[in-house]
Amino acid sequence: MRANIVKEIQSRFSDHYDDFFIEEELVEKTTIFLIGFNTLVDLAKSKLFVQQMADSSASVKALFKNLSDRINIDTEQLIQGILEGNLVIVSQDGKQNVVVDPIVKNLRSSISEPKNESPIQSSTDAFGDDINTNVGMIRKRLSTASLCHCSYQVGELEKRKISMLYIKGRTPKALIEKVNEQLKGINTDIETIDDLNLQFGKRRLSPVSHLSATELPIQAIHSLKENRIVLFLDNCPFALVFPNLIWDMLGGINDRNFPFILSFMLRFFRVIGLVATLILPALYVALVSVNPEVFKLDLALFVAKSREGIPLSAFLETIAMVVLVDLILEAIVRLPKSVGPAITMVGGIILGQAMVEAKLVSNLLVIVITAVVIASSAVIGMQNSLYIRLLKYPILILASLFGILGVCTGFIITIIYLASLTSNDVPYMTFRIKQEGETK
């Protein structure tokens, strides 16, 4: 004879829930029902755990009290508890119930090395999928009472967990309140990082995100100390730093493991990489096709000679090569690790030799393109590298129309565009955020 509450839960999970179980167990001469998903709960171990607890408890009521604080709640909450992967125990008469944290099946990978970043001379722990582990990793490394943690559950279809961390007394209060409101106001499903990004204001057509993702706890902690907010999304192995600043692309905390002059050098090279990615292809087009007269005669002749017999116009050959290289970069990511080198080899041969020997593109262009690919990878973070690769196209088009004037106007437009971006009134091009309460 099963109690009503058990029947109700059972009817909810009757069809097509093959991993759903209801087990009967005899404790203290009364029957109890263990309910849950056997894909999420390790049933055998959990049973043993309940039995052991029962041995040390005087009655069913005492057992339930010992197991958890969530006793005697309504059916809806019980069902939510089951979906979250907890074990629900109901007594025989159905009057008492409890939601227990069970012994779970291990569905997560353990803390491992970062996959998207490669820190040199630093701790190699990276964030994992579990949100609590991630917050724990921060707390472990930043043991101060002023580290605050707010958690949210948002979404329509599923309730997804979001955590917000900040340091009290450092991060500006206005910023925290605004982000808090924005996170509370989410009423759509948050599936990707960009879904979360769109909650901080309209930037649908902008390549620059409000959030800067990092895998490294030390980088996240450094951002916290720099008066910023760190967000964690459940099942997402990244700390999302809000707001994203241009400096994130150029300097990380890992650089500072070296003496100042070396870290300055690293950052300076990244700035060169950024500028070179933006203007090098455009400068090639401008100097070859529109303004060849700016070179000294011998250099101008050299450039003209390298383009001898090439049928394509400078703009066409450049755009073809730039697109081809961006395709290769994308293809390498898609392929399994064992096939990836094949693309590298084929791409290298075709781009490096065949195209030049076939007189389809000039020697000089191949050098320029190689420099651009290397330069675009010098900045920190994959998303930053992607967006500067995108921004080079408008400058390239302007250069083909106006020559050097176009390169320089395009570069200035890019600067102005980036300067116009703000997230919650914090400009993208600021170098640091003012500490709360700090006087000017």
């Binding site: 070179f295 000294k296 106006f402 320089c408 106007t409 200035i412 437009i413 300067a419 600021t430």
Partner: protein
């Protein structure tokens, strides 16, 4: 602190933008020797007006020029500021056109000028629409991008210097003070924008004084580089003395044929930022005096300015109109600071009398 550096950068960029093109020609026409006297006198006059202006603005904390004029009454704002805006529209269109002529002669001799005008207008209006914050932030980066080029120009031109071209270095008494052109020259100064940003930041005269020193030094160099290269007799016959001076440089180990290309790149950066500041000022005045969104005003005024810039037929008329416009600008540069100073002084005394 950052904002003060940004304001300083805008201040320097605007002065350089006006200073590079027509300014040297006028100075060469004013005197034959001792050009530094004029630049210094102009600078001191400008410093005096700036002092009045900032003192006047300090009487009204958290108010900008438009707010102060609106306090005097709506009619005062219309009478004082609308002619100012009309002149700004003329100034912006002629300024872009003059720069376009120089840019065309450097980069693209075969391209029609309207296409470059369109490009420069588009970028300036886009920046102005994004607002003051964007202008100030991008000013720092444009400043960092422009200043190395300015220094390159100065140092690379040093190989052609002949010190005898600028002697004698003293000319007394200063007769140029009685010449009308001297006051035209005052119009090339552009400190009036300072009054438009005081609603959020308080200006400090000391910081601006540093910017003023840098501007005066740079203007001295702008005037003296062509002089040192060519001498007074040649320079007065040239249309763009600074450009010619840059073109005269030939450094054998340098891989570029023409130094003028760097001068052109520098001008583009300067002209875009300067014009976006002026467009923003226009939008600001119109928005506060007649309630309408400032972006509509900016677009409307930029269309008018674009048409003016396109219909000016030749360079002779262009320079003539530009001088009229800068003469009118000089009038506003004297009238607006003094009005604000006197009004501030009087109303401040009124408050004190009432308090007693």
């Amino acid at each position: 602190m950052t904002q003060r550096i940004q304001i300083g950068a805008v201040f320097i960029i605007m002065h350089l933008s006006f200073g590079y093109v027509v300014y040297p020609n006028l100075i060469y026409r004013l005197t034959e020797t001792a050009h530094w006297e004029i630049i210094l006198c102009l600078g001191l006059l400008q410093l005096l007006l700036m002092w009045f202006y900032i003192k006047g603005l300090h009487y009204f904390p958290n108010n900008d020029v438009i707010d102060i004029h609106l306090k005097m009454g709506r009619w005062a704002a219309i009478v004082f500021l609308i002619p100012f805006v009309i002149n700004l529209i003329a100034l912006v269109s002629l300024n872009i056109r003059i720069h376009t002529e120089v840019i065309i002669s450097i980069f693209l001799p075969r391209t029609p000028y309207w296409s470059i005008l369109l490009l420069l207008f588009f970028v300036s209006v886009y920046t102005a629409l994004k607002g003051l914050g964007t202008i100030l932030r991008s000013s720092i980066f444009i400043f960092l991008f422009v200043i190395p080029l300015v220094l390159l120009n100065i140092f690379s031109s040093a190989i052609n210097f002949n010190i005898h071209n600028v002697t004698p270095g003293l000319d007394l008494p200063p007769k140029f003070l009685l010449n009308m052109r001297f006051f035209y020259l005052l119009g090339f100064s552009s400190f009036l924008f300072l009054g438009f940003i005081t609603s959020k930041t308080k200006l400090i005269f000391r910081h601006l004084f540093v910017a003023w020193v840098i501007v005066t030094l740079l203007l001295l160099l702008v005037v003296y580089i062509p002089l040192l290269v060519f001498g007074q007799e040649t320079v007065i016959t040239l249309t763009n003395p600074f450009l010619e001076a840059m073109d005269s440089i030939d450094i054998s180990w340098f891989s570029f044929n023409r130094q003028a290309i760097f001068f052109g790149v520098l001008l583009v950066g300067l002209v875009i930022l300067t014009n976006s500041v002026i467009f923003w000022m226009i939008g600001r005045v119109m928005q506060k005096v007649f309630a309408w969104d400032s972006s509509y005003w900016i677009i409307a005024c930029s269309v008018i300015a674009f048409i003016i810039a396109i219909v000016v037929p030749n360079k002779y008329l262009l320079e003539k109109y530009f001088l009229w416009s800068s003469g009118a600008q000089a009038y506003f540069m004297i009238s607006i600071p003094l009005t604000i100073f006197i009004y501030g002084f009087l109303s401040n005394r009124g408050v004190k009398v009432r308090e007693k």
